[in-house]
C-alpha cells in the first residue's frame, strides 16, 4: 500500500523509536490489563459457591425420656404413620416429609407403604416420577443448566416449600454424589444444593429449609456470598430467622426454631471436632436466649391437656375440644405440638422446659394419634410425620430401626401397620 503524499509529510518514526513506543505501550498496557484481569477474576472468585461437605452432618437425638412416650406407645404410634403409596395421587409434599421421618433405610412388608428408598427415588429420579405421575406432569426436577431446581408451590407433584425437598434429602444423609436423574441428564445431589445456593436470598419469603440444608452441608464454612453479592453467614441467617414476628411462618413459625436448634447443635459439633464454629459467641448467646424465651412462652400457654394451638405466643387454647377457628383446628394443634416437641428433642438442655411439660405434650400426641381415623391419618400425613418423629427422638430412636425392633410385638392400628422388616 502506497502512502499518500500527506503521509510523506508526517514525521515518520525511526524504527528504533517505533519499537520504543510499542515497548512503552506494552509496558503500560500489559500490567494494567493484567491487574484488571486479576482483580476481576479475584472478585468473581469471591462470589463463587462455597465448598460443600461430601456428606451432610448428622444431628443425633440427645434424650431418652420414657415419660414422654413409652416403648409400647411409640411402637403403636409409629405403626400408624407409614406413608401409603397412592399412585398419581401421592403427594410430593407428603413423600419428602415421610422420607425425613422414616429415612431411606425404612422398608415395610406391607406393599401399600412406600419404603424409604421408594420415597427418595420418587424425589430424585425423573424416570420414577414419570412412572407415577405420567409423562405429561411437569417434572419435579428442573434442569437449569448449571444446576437442578426443585419445582415448588405447584400442587401435588411439586415440593410444598422452598428447599423443603433439599432439606429433607440432606437431613437423611444424602451424599453430594447421590445420583439425580432429570428429564435431560444424570447428575448428582450437588446440582440441587448448588442451585439452591445460587437462588438463595437472605430475604426470600421461605428460608427455613434453605438454612437447614446449608447448616448440614456447608460447615466449617461460616460465610459465603449470595448471587446478589451479599455476604451471608450463619450469624446473619440466625438474625434473619429471629427477625420475623411469631407465629408467622409455616407451621406457626416452628421450622425457624428447628433451624436455630440445628445451628446450635452443629456449632457444638464443630467445636467438639476441633473445627471452626459456625456461630459467633454473641449470636450463639442471642439464639439461646431467644429460644429460651420461646420455650417460656410455650410453657405459659400450654393447655392442661398438654397441647398448643396456633396462638401459642399469646394464649393457651381455650378448650380441650378443637374449635373450627383457623389456628385452633385439630390439625393446628397437631402441627404446633408435634413441631415443638421435635425441635425440643434436638435442642441443648438449657432450652428445654420442665420434664412435665414434655411428658404432657408427648402423651397428648400419643392420645391424639391413637384417636385419628384412617382418613385423618392420610390427610394429616405431613404434620403427623413431625409428631411421630418427635416421639421417636424423645426415646433417642431412629423410627425405622425402632419399628423394626418392635415388629414382632406390635402390629396394630386401624389399618394394616407397617409390619416393618429389619433394616439392613
Amino acid at each position: 500500500m502506497n502512502a499518500s503524499p500527506e503521509a510523506e509529510a508526517l514525521v515518520r518514526p525511526r524504527p528504533g523509536r517505533l519499537t520504543l513506543f510499542l515497548c512503552c505501550q506494552l509496558a503500560v498496557l500489559l500490567p494494567l490489563g493484567g491487574w484488571g484481569l486479576l482483580r476481576a477474576t479475584q472478585i468473581k472468585a469471591q462470589y463463587a459457591l462455597p465448598p460443600l461437605r461430601p456428606e451432610p452432618l448428622v444431628v443425633e437425638p440427645r434424650f431418652d425420656y420414657e415419660v414422654v412416650v413409652t416403648d409400647e406407645q411409640l411402637a403403636r404410634v409409629l405403626a400408624r404413620l407409614g406413608l401409603e403409596f397412592q399412585g398419581s395421587q401421592t403427594r410430593i409434599g407428603f413423600t419428602d416429609h415421610a422420607l425425613r421421618f422414616w429415612t431411606p433405610a425404612a422398608r415395610f412388608a406391607d406393599p401399600k407403604l412406600m419404603s424409604g428408598e421408594d420415597m427418595r427415588r420418587l424425589l430424585t429420579d425423573q424416570r420414577r416420577f414419570e412412572e407415577v405421575y405420567g409423562r405429561d406432569a411437569d417434572p419435579l426436577l428442573i434442569d437449569e443448566g448449571r444446576g437442578v431446581r426443585v419445582r415448588a408451590f405447584e400442587g401435588n407433584t411439586s415440593s410444598s416449600h422452598v428447599d423443603h425437598t433439599l432439606a429433607c434429602l440432606a437431613e437423611v444423609g444424602t451424599p453430594l454424589d447421590f445420583p439425580i436423574i432429570t428429564s435431560g441428564k444424570q447428575t448428582t445431589f450437588r446440582a440441587i444444593v448448588e442451585q439452591s445456593l445460587r437462588d438463595f436470598s437472605l430475604n426470600q419469603f421461605e428460608y427455613e429449609w434453605s438454612a437447614l440444608a446449608y447448616v448440614l452441608l456447608l460447615p466449617p464454612t461460616r460465610s459465603w456470598h449470595t448471587s446478589e453479592g451479599q455476604e451471608v453467614s450463619f450469624d446473619t441467617l440466625a438474625e434473619r430467622i429471629m427477625r420475623e414476628t411469631l407465629p408467622r411462618g409455616v407451621c406457626s413459625g416452628q421450622h425457624r426454631m428447628h433451624a436455630l436448634v440445628m445451628f446450635l447443635r452443629i456449632d457444638d459439633q464443630m467445636a467438639e471436632t476441633g473445627e471452626q464454629r459456625i456461630l459467633s459467641p454473641p449470636r450463639r448467646s442471642q439464639i439461646i436466649e431467644y429460644l429460651q424465651g420461646i420455650t417460656a412462652s410455650f410453657v405459659r400457654h400450654q393447655h392442661p391437656d398438654g397441647f398448643w394451638n396456633g396462638a401459642w405466643p399469646t394464649a393457651a387454647p381455650e378448650s380441650s375440644t378443637p374449635s373450627d377457628r383457623e389456628g385452633d383446628l385439630l390439625r393446628d394443634r397437631i402441627i404446633v405440638t408435634g413441631h415443638v416437641m421435635e425441635w425440643w428433642a434436638l435442642a441443648p438442655p438449657e432450652i428445654l422446659p420442665e420434664r412435665t411439660v414434655l411428658a404432657s405434650a408427648g402423651q397428648w400426641l400419643v392420645r391424639t394419634i391413637d384417636s385419628l381415623s384412617p382418613e385423618q391419618l392420610r390427610e394429616f400425613s405431613s404434620f403427623l410425620s413431625h409428631a411421630g418423629h418427635a416421639l421417636a427422638l424423645w426415646r433417642g430412636q431412629d423410627p425405622a430401626e425402632f419399628v423394626a425392633q418392635a415388629s414382632v410385638a406390635s402390629p396394630a392400628g386401624d389399618r394394616p401397620g407397617p409390619t416393618p422388616e429389619k433394616t439392613p
Binding site: 503521509a7 515518520r12 403427594r91 455476604e231 427477625r243 420475623e244 414476628t245 390439625r331 402441627i335 405431613s382
Partner: protein, 577 residues
C-alpha cells in the same frame, strides 16, 4: 476572560463636543478590559443562572445520603465497607466512588451549615458553565456563540441540573477536561473551525499534566469519571482513524504525533483513575455499575422516552444538530462524532447520561454555529448587499469600559440578591421551607425525633436519605437512594409494597416492619388499606406524610393481615400440605 476581538476605543463611542476638554476621569485599564453589550447579556445569563441555582431548595434527595456518608467517614476516619445506614444492605460490598465529594459535603455542612451546601452547589454549577463558556469561546472566538453554547447546555441538560449531588462536581471535571482538549488543540480551529479536532495536542505537556490532575480529582469525586476516559478514548481513536484514512499506513498512524499525543493523554487518564483508595477495583466496579438490576426501576437509569424527562430536549437537540451540520461548511472531526454518538446513545439508554450529552452536544455544535455565524456576517458585510453608509461595527460588537462597569454592577447585583451574600451583606436567612423546599418532609422528621420508631421502618425511597439525616439517630430505613446496594430481593419487595401488589402487607411482616411511612400523594391505596386494618393505627400525618404504627400484639393471630390480596403461598398462618 472572554474578550471581544472587535474592540473599539472608548473614544469612538464618546461624543464629539468634548474633544478639547481633558476627561475628568481617565481610565487606568487598558482597552482589553472594555466589554460590549454581548458581555452584558453573558453576565445577565450567568447572574440569573447563579441566582436560580442558589435559590434552588436542597430538597430531600440523595444529597443527604452523600452528606451522611461524608459525616460517617469524618467520624470514623475510614471508608465504609458496607452501607452504615441501611440494615437490609448489610453484607453488600460498598465501593464508594464519591467519597471525596461526600467528605466535602460533610465538611461544608459541619463548618457552615446546610445553607452552605446550597452555595457549594450554585458555585460548582456556575463554575461548570463558566468553564464551558470558555471552551465555547476558544472554539468559536465569539462571545455570542459562547452565550448560545451555554444556553444550549442549559436547555438540553436542565432536567439533570436541579439535583444537588456529587455528579455536579463530576460535570465540572468534564468541563475542565473539554477545556484542556480545546486548549491542547491549540485553538487551531478558528472561527471557521476548519481544523477542529484534527489538530493534535498543540501544547501536549499542558494536556499531559492537566488530564491526570483532572482525572485524579474526578475519580475520587464521582463515578462519572469513566465519561472522561470515554472522551479521551474518542480523541485517541478518532485521531488514529483520521490519520489512517489520510495516510493509509499503519506505521504512519503509529508515528503520527497527534495520535500519540491523544493516546498518551488517554493512558495518563487511565493511570490517574487508579489513584484512589480502591485501586483498579473502582474502575471495574464503575464499569459494572449500570448492570445493577435494581437501577432499572429508577427513572434516571431508565431509557429515554421522547415525551418523558429530557426526551423533548434531546430530540430537539438532534434536529438542531442535523440542521446546523446540513448548512455548515466546517469540518466534522471524527472525535466529535464519536463523542456525540457515544453520549447520545448512552443518554438514550439512561436519562441520567443527559448531563454529559448536553455538554458534548454543545461542544460539537458550537464550531458549526460559529462557522454559520461567520458566513452570515460575511454575507451581511458584502458591499453589494449592505446599505450604503453602514460602516459602523454591529451594535453587539461595540465595546466600552462603561459597559464593563455595568457588567461588574450586574455581577454584584446577582451576588447581592443571592443567599450567599447574606453573611456579608446582611439580610434574612432563608426559612426552612425555602431552604429545603416543600417536598422535603421536614415536619415528619421533627415528629420522628420526638417519637422514634423502634426497629425496621418502611419508607418511600425518595425520603430515605432525609429521614436518616434529619430523623432520630439509629433510624432503620427500609431503602435509601443507595438502591444499588440493596439485595435484589429486598428491592423487589420494596417495589411490591410501592405498587400495592398482592401480599404487600405480609411483606411488611416478613421484615418485621413496625412503622410504615407513606407519601400521601403517592400511596393512597396502601394508606387506605392500613387505615382499615385493625393491626395498624395512624400516629402522625401532615399534608405530605402519614405514619402508621403496628398495634402492639397484632400480627400474632391467624390471618391478621387479611385484606391485602395475600398470596396463598405467603399467608400469615401457613400449614404444610
Amino acid at each position: 476572560m472572554i474578550t471581544s476581538t472587535n474592540h473599539e476605543p472608548e473614544q469612538t463611542a464618546s461624543s464629539a463636543p468634548d474633544e478639547a476638554a481633558p476627561p475628568l476621569l481617565s481610565p487606568k485599564l487598558g482597552p482589553q478590559w472594555a466589554l460590549g453589550p454581548i458581555h452584558v447579556l453573558l453576565v445577565i445569563f450567568f447572574g440569573l443562572l447563579y441566582l436560580l441555582l442558589n435559590y434552588l431548595p436542597l430538597r430531600g434527595t440523595d444529597l443527604w445520603g452523600h452528606a451522611l456518608y461524608g459525616r460517617w467517614m469524618l467520624e470514623h476516619r475510614a471508608l465504609p465497607a458496607a452501607d452504615p445506614f441501611l440494615p437490609l444492605a448489610s453484607g453488600m460490598p460498598v465501593l464508594d466512588a464519591a467519597w471525596l465529594s461526600q467528605v466535602l459535603f460533610a465538611l461544608v455542612d459541619r463548618s457552615f451549615g446546610a445553607e452552605a451546601l446550597s452555595h457549594l452547589f450554585a458555585l460548582t454549577v456556575l463554575a461548570t458553565y463558566l468553564v464551558l463558556a470558555r471552551v465555547f469561546y476558544l472554539q468559536s472566538r465569539s462571545a455570542l456563540i459562547c452565550l448560545l453554547g451555554s444556553l444550549l447546555v442549559l436547555s438540553v441538560g436542565w432536567s439533570r441540573l436541579t439535583t444537588i449531588r456529587p455528579e455536579n462536581l463530576g460535570a465540572l471535571c468534564f468541563a475542565v477536561l473539554l477545556w484542556l482538549i480545546v486548549s491542547a488543540e491549540g485553538s487551531a480551529s478558528g472561527p471557521d473551525g476548519e481544523s477542529a479536532g484534527r489538530a493534535g495536542p498543540g501544547r501536549p505537556w499542558r494536556l499531559w499534566l492537566g488530564v491526570p490532575l483532572v482525572m485524579v480529582c474526578w475519580t475520587n469525586l464521582h463515578g462519572s469519571f469513566v465519561c472522561g476516559l470515554a472522551v479521551l478514548a474518542c480523541w485517541a481513536v478518532g485521531s488514529a482513524l483520521e490519520s489512517a484514512a489520510r495516510t493509509r499506513s499503519l506505521s504512519a498512524v503509529t508515528g503520527d504525533r497527534n495520535v500519540r499525543g491523544w493516546l498518551y493523554a488517554l493512558e495518563l487518564g487511565v493511570l490517574a483513575t487508579l489513584v484512589n483508595p480502591y485501586g483498579i477495583d473502582l474502575l471495574l466496579n464503575t464499569l459494572w455499575f449500570s448492570r445493577n438490576e435494581n437501577l432499572r426501576d429508577i427513572l434516571e437509569w431508565q431509557p429515554m422516552v421522547i415525551l418523558g424527562v429530557g426526551g423533548r430536549e434531546f430530540a430537539v437537540s438532534l434536529v438542531l444538530l442535523m440542521l446546523v451540520i446540513r448548512h455548515s461548511r466546517v469540518r466534522f472531526p471524527l472525535a466529535h462524532g464519536l463523542m456525540l454518538g457515544l453520549f447520545a446513545l448512552s443518554a438514550l439508554f439512561g436519562i441520567r447520561m443527559l448531563t454529559w450529552y448536553a455538554a458534548a452536544f454543545a461542544f460539537v455544535i458550537v464550531p458549526h454555529l460559529a462557522g454559520l455565524l461567520t458566513r452570515i456576517r460575511t454575507s451581511a458585510a458584502d458591499p453589494a448587499r449592505a446599505p450604503s453608509g453602514e460602516d459602523q461595527p454591529p451594535l453587539l460588537a461595540r465595546t466600552s469600559l462603561k459597559i464593563s462597569l455595568i457588567c461588574v454592577l450586574l455581577a454584584w447585583i446577582a451576588f447581592g440578591l443571592s443567599p450567599l451574600s447574606t453573611p456579608l451583606l446582611g439580610g434574612a436567612r432563608r426559612t426552612t421551607t425555602q431552604l429545603y423546599g416543600e417536598s422535603t418532609p421536614v415536619e415528619l422528621t421533627a415528629y420522628l425525633r420526638t417519637s422514634p420508631p423502634e426497629g425496621q421502618i418502611f419508607n418511600p425511597q425518595w425520603w430515605g436519605d432525609w429521614l436518616i439525616w434529619d430523623g432520630p439517630p439509629g433510624l432503620q430505613a427500609f431503602v435509601t437512594s443507595n438502591v444499588h446496594l440493596l439485595p435484589r430481593q429486598v428491592w423487589r419487595d420494596y417495589m411490591s409494597i410501592m405498587q400495592s401488589e398482592a401480599g404487600w402487607m405480609t411483606i411488611l411482616g416478613r421484615y418485621r416492619v413496625n412503622t410504615v411511612i407513606l407519601d400521601k400523594n403517592q400511596h393512597r391505596s396502601q394508606s387506605n388499606i392500613l387505615r382499615r386494618s385493625s393491626d395498624w393505627r395512624v400516629v402522625y400525618q401532615d399534608k405530605q406524610a402519614i405514619v402508621f404504627r403496628r398495634v402492639a400484639g397484632s400480627g400474632l393471630g391467624p390471618g391478621s393481615d387479611a385484606g391485602d390480596g395475600e398470596s396463598p403461598a405467603e399467608s400469615s398462618f401457613r400449614v404444610e400440605t
